[in-house]
Amino acid sequence: MNDPKEALYHVHGVDVPETPVAPPTDQEPWGETRVVGKPLPRVDGYERVSGTAVYPADLSLPRMLYGAILRCPHPHAVVTSVDSSEAEQMAGVQAVITGFTPDDRATRQHSELIRNNLFNTRCRYEGEAVAAVAAENPYLAQDALRAIKVEYDVLPFVADERRALEPDAPQVHEAGNQVSDTQTYERGDVEQGFREANVVLEQEYRCECEIHTPMEPHGCVASWDGESLTIWESTQGVYNVQTQVAAALGIPLSRVRVVGHYMGGGFGAKLQAGKYTFLAALLAKQTARPVKLTLTREETYLAVGNRPPSNMRLKAGVKNDGTLTALEFSGTGTGGAARAGGTSLLDWLIRELYVCPNVRTETTDIYINAGPARPFRAPGHPQCAWALEQMMDALAVAVDMDPVQLRIKNVPTVSQARNGIPYTTTGFHQCLEEGARAFAWEQTRNEISREGRDSHVRRGVGVAGGAWAAGGGGPPSTAIVKIYSDGSINLNMGASDIGTGTKTVMAMVVAEELDVAPDVVQIEHADTGTTQYATGSGGSKTVPTESPAVRAAAIDAKEQLIELAASEMEVDASAITLSDGKVIADGDTPRELNISALRSLRRRGNVTGIGYRGPNPSGKAVTPFAAQFCEVEVNIRTGEVNVVRFLGAHDSGRVMNLLTYRNQVFGGITMGIGYGMTEQRVLDVDQTGKMVNKNWHDYKLPTALDVPADMTCIPIDLHDTEANTTGAKGIGEPATIPTAPAVANAVYHATGVRVTSTPIDPTKLIQALTEAREGE
């Protein structure tokens, strides 16, 4: 786990191919930029606000059928029979496939797959696929599901990882409920560290399971043309889907085209194909018609990922001057019924975020009968921050230091979790300091302490920090920039724009290099049939991965164009510059020519620049940092918490587009508010093991009234010249890491009560407040 990217975004079964080694580059880092960094609206904003953007769920093809999946209603059961005869006879139902599809009709190549993989007769979680249908409209598909009769042997289940290692717990898998050996990490001498401490605190923390629930449910449209398959998928990574579909169906990669132009959110849950993707392809094959298969909202709660719940114990030692002496951490978690990273990076921030010579961690991943986890916006990190950042707050109180100062005291300059290699840049200190200044941290704390505690509505402020293990990006990536003979420009890249503004940022990179307006740049992207290879858009690595490749391609195209122009205008290439669609030859009498007037370019048709993502600097860590501050009002009669304002100070390298950057920060804070205050999966652990809140009413996402209108974004823009050739680091994930503990710390500041398990809602807080009052 020393390379966190491996642990995180490596999707099982998908090898990351090599791309050509990037040629040595003499690209200078940008200084002042003309386009990059500006708060520009998106290049595809029109499509998104006009309703004309076509998401996979919107796609309609001639003769298209609608697919639907029957899912196991029990957390643990064996399917003993499936009777689909009635469904098959229903008008409008064109195909039914199950694990019991008779051999005489399952003559296709896919029958083995269905039997062994798709429809596993042992269902280890509620929501496991049991059968699938295709019908003329979605209502008929649902009717067909209702008509399928399945018999189950219902087995004992375990739905709470805290009980799953007990000796008599039902076994999810034959080898037991512990996924693998407990993972350990150690540096220094923890016992010695605790002896050196003036204060040692120990506390347990819990984070509930969070579900991604992107607004567009998972889904796709699958269509065959002979032996070639095209899939329009709501995905973060078209190449991941292509690889998995080709492997699952046993067909060549060249015959699987995956298109993912628009998609309605993923947050890590759409980095891979789903069984639904394979099923749509199989149903389409069987019926020789296109099939659209969009999951229901309920299915997205059960079967396509979550952030694992975490149980953590943290012991920390600190000297009176605020120096950390030791951290000891143990955590358990569960990726559900699959090996799905139940404790991925759960201890990363303990190892990494603050200077501490003596650290010991252990993490244990456990199976339960529940839906498999998937990567979710900074896997492991919000959980770990929930523990570590509340502990830092408690340590600050214990040694009577300002919580900001305690953190500043322990800001690291090297990556301790990576054996002490230096960071390319670390703005953590500035995040804390400049964030506190912009927030009026000290003044607000002074004000609050002067106010006293007479009112039943109490104010409090909180801070928390964070870092993200994998925000530097890296190879492979290839991009192509074409300049056509009329001066118009095309950018071709494989990356998906999952809503973060990737297309816009890349258009700005091209515009910066070629001195044009971003909207001149036409973009082809996220299509395995027509665009270049890219890894999935996840891990906050898309901009730092793709933008250097795009920049290199733009520079390559520019150099070629300048060569052409130089020979045509009979000057030295060094005398030529580009400006706003013109070629300008410097000289005694400067000459300019529209690009469209270049005869040699017209003959050639276009110049094609190719760019590759070069390697990351060796021996250096590229890491985004963050500090967030918030103010709350707590009604101590009811336990209601009103978040009044939030500030995010982030070091994510160069700000590529201030508008989308801000949007990411506010979006991360919003999601963090949900994590810390409203969201949790509820399983009926004592009775049926079923999820009782698999909808957006009972599983509560934050609404417009749960987020403060007063949000501030303070970019700590350090111009990282080593990280990559654009100096960008990731922002999406860091933006959600410190949020929940910042709220918890503010609630503590307001009330003197610590809530150590998520979410902090009135049900928890009123109880904690009551217990505290009774204790007094």
């Binding site: 209502y139 309605g264 609404t703 417009a704």
Partner: protein
């Protein structure tokens, strides 16, 4: 035919007597406040329609100012008909249970969830979808405001957010921040673009008022 049915309606309601005795007589008798019984738009709906479960029946829907004849089953929701039957996929579906707001459309001027509305129930009502805010290829003011303020990320909830804001600013030309926050509180945004949506709603109101300035 329509006229005849309407007469029939009058008869039917007269028979119950409730209308007149229950409300109108009080208004007529110099009631203190004026009844807010909905006027014109609720013109007597078409006739007792009986539709059998599995059959398709013709309904006429007023969508974005155009009458559309569609064959529907009774159970088909407005969102299904808009998207899958009429190809108006600007209206999105996120939950099909009135819990996300992606399918928000205006029905007789007020925002409602198309996923919780049977198509057959909105015959005679004026339905406006995000496509209906366009002026040819030009964005309407609310759409323009969302674009300028970057009031979205993935864009999937955006049509619904836009329609909620459109409904708000049509009824309230100058909403306060609090009114905006309440106005969009029936629309989830998982990407968390709320802060920018608040700004867009204020700007939308401005653009509609024609001032167009920076806020």
């Amino acid at each position: 035919m329509a006229k005849k049915r309407r007469e029939h309606d009058e008869e039917a309601t007269a028979r119950t007597g409730l209308t007149r005795r229950g409300f109108l007589s009080h208004v007529g008798a110099g009631a203190v406040s004026v009844a807010v019984v909905k006027p014109a738009t609720a013109a007597p709906a078409p006739p007792p329609q009986a539709m059998a479960a599995a059959e398709l029946s013709k309904v006429s829907l007023d969508i974005n100012g155009r009458e559309r004849q569609v064959l529907v089953e009774p159970r088909w929701t407005l969102s299904h008909v808009l998207r899958e039957e009429l190809g108006l996929t600007g209206t999105k579906v996120g939950c099909e249970r009135g819990e996300c707001g992606a399918c928000t459309v205006l029905i007789d001027g007020v925002p409602r969830y198309a996923c919780l509305t049977l198509a057959v129930e909105v015959e005679g009502a004026a339905i406006v979808t995000v496509e209906g805010l366009m002026n040819g290829e030009a964005l309407g003011p609310t759409q323009q405001a969302f674009l300028e303020e970057d009031a979205f990320q993935c864009g999937y909830c955006t049509s619904g957010q836009i329609m909620a804001v459109e409904g708000l600013v049509q009824g309230n030309p100058n909403p306060s921040l609090e009114e905006v926050r309440h106005g969009v509180s029936g629309n989830l945004c998982r990407c968390g673009a709320y802060a920018h949506i608040f700004a867009a709603a204020r700007k939308a109101a401005e653009l509609r008022r024609g001032t167009g300035g920076e806020s």
